[in-house]
C-alpha cells in the first residue's frame, strides 16, 4: 500500500494526492523502570595516580529483550561513554572564556585501550507490566551506571591503600588522584 501511495504515475492526480501520512501518539500509562547493578575492579598506581580498569561487569533487567545483540552493544557503548566521563573527558575554559580543550590533543576521549572487556548479563528479564511488549528502556543504562561505579572503585582502592579520601571530582585523572593521595 505504501509503495502504491508513493508511486503515483497512474493516479488521477486531480482527485488523489500521492503519499501516505498518519500521526499517532502513544501515551504510556507509566514510565518503564529498568534496574541494574554494576561492579568494577580498578588498580591505582600509587606513584603516578593512574587508574586502570581491570574488570567491569554490568547486570541489567531490561524486561523482555527483542534483539539481544543490540542491547549488549548499547550497554557496551554506554559503559565506554561512562568510563570516558569518569576518567578522561573534560571541557576546560580559561579565565577569558577561551576553550582550552578545543582539540583531541587536550580533550581526552576514551580509546580502545582505556576500556576493559566487559561482562554484561541480561538473564534477569522481568517483563514490564504496563506495555504490551513487556520491554523497558535500556539506552542510557551503561552511561548512567558506569561513572559512579568507576569513581567509587577508585575511592575504595585509595581507602584500602590507607588514604582518607571520600571524593574526587570527575574526571578522575592521574594528576587528580595523585593530588588526592597527597592529602
Amino acid at each position: 500500500m505504501t509503495l502504491a501511495a508513493y508511486v503515483p504515475h497512474n493516479y488521477p492526480l486531480d482527485e488523489i494526492e500521492p503519499g501516505l501520512e498518519e500521526t499517532a501518539f502513544y501515551d504510556p500509562s507509566n514510565f518503564t523502570y529498568p534496574s541494574g547493578a554494576y561492579a568494577c575492579e580498578v588498580e591505582v598506581d600509587p606513584e603516578t595516580g593512574k587508574v586502570t580498569i581491570e574488570r567491569f561487569s554490568a547486570a541489567d533487567d531490561f524486561g523482555n529483550i527483542v534483539n539481544p545483540m543490540i542491547v549488549d552493544g548499547q550497554v557496551h557503548g554506554g559503559i565506554g561513554q561512562g568510563i570516558g566521563q569518569a576518567l578522561l573527558e573534560h571541557c576546560v575554559y580559561d579565565e577569558n572564556g577561551q576553550l582550552v580543550t578545543g582539540s583531541y590533543m587536550d580533550y581526552a576521549m576514551p580509546r580502545a585501550d582505556d576500556v576493559p572487556f566487559y561482562t554484561v548479563d541480561h538473564s534477569c528479564a522481568t517483563p514490564c507490566t504496563h506495555n504490551p511488549l513487556g520491554v523497558k528502556g535500556c539506552g542510557e543504562a551503561g552511561a548512567i551506571g558506569a561513572p559512579t561505579t568507576v569513581v567509587n572503585a577508585v575511592i575504595d582502592a585509595l581507602q584500602s591503600g590507607g588514604h582518607k579520601v571520600d571524593h574526587i571530582d570527575m574526571p578522575v585523572s592521574p594528576s587528580r588522584v595523585w593530588e588526592a593521595m597527597q592529602g
Binding site: 593512574k50 578522561l88 576546560v92 582550552v100 590533543m105 587536550d106 576521549m109 592521574p174 594528576s175 593530588e179
Partner: protein, 261 residues
Amino acid sequence: MYAFELERPSTLADAVAALSGGEAQPLSGGQTLIPTLKQRLASPGKLVSLTGIKELRGIRLDDAGQLAVGAATPHVQVAAQDHYPALAHLAANIGDPAVRNRGTIGGSLANNDPSACYPAAALGSGATIVTNTREIKADDYFTGLFDTALEEGEIITEVRFPVPRRAAYAKFEQPASRFALVGVFVAQYAQGVRVAVTGASEGGVFRWAEAEKALAADFSADALSGLALDGAGMIADLHGSGAYRAHLTGVMTRRAVAAAG
C-alpha cells in the same frame, strides 16, 4: 590552509637552494606542519619536501660506531632497528601507526615540542645533530620551547647517537595527546650517565644533573632515593601541576633505570 608552492627536490643541494629564497620552509613527515597550516597558524609561500631525498633517509652505523639516522627517516624505521633498543622502543611509542609512518626524526628535533620524545633521546645520548652546514652537540642544540640552534634555512641531515652500554626511556603519557606528560631518557656510557627529561620543564628538555651524578656512582633506582625536583619552572596545565610533573620526573627516572637493567 593558505595556498603555497611545493617543491620535491631529490638532492640535498637542490633542497638547500630551494630554501634559500626566504618564505620557504622544509616539509618532512608533515605531522606537525600540516595541522599548523590547516589551522592557518603559518603561511609559508613555499614548502620544500625532504622525504624524496635519498641521502636524508635510512639508518647506518658510522665509522665511530654511532647510530646515524637520516633526518627524513620515519619513526617506524627507527623502531625497527636493533642497534639501539631504547631508541627503538621510544620511536615505537610515538603517536599511532599513521604518525610513525610519516613523522620523522628531523621534523621532531627541528620542531622541539616541549612534550616530544626524541629531544629526550638526543640529549640523553649526547647525540650530534648534523646539518647541511655544521655539527651541533645536543647540549648546545635545544634552546627553549619550540626553539633550537638551527639558523633560518638550515636543514638537519642526520642525527648521530653514541650507542650506550644500557639505556631506557620511560614515558608517562598525557591522557589526551599521549605525548609525554613527563618522559625520562637514561643512558649509561663509559664516560658517565646522562638523564634527559622532556614534557616537564617550561624551558623544554633538560638534563637532571643530580640524578646523573648519583647514577654514575651507582646505577640503580635506589641510588635516586632522596633526590627530588621541586615544581618551580615546571609546566603547569590542565593535565597536571608543576609539583606533579616534578614528582613524575623522579618516578619515571627510577622506572627508566629499572628498565635499563
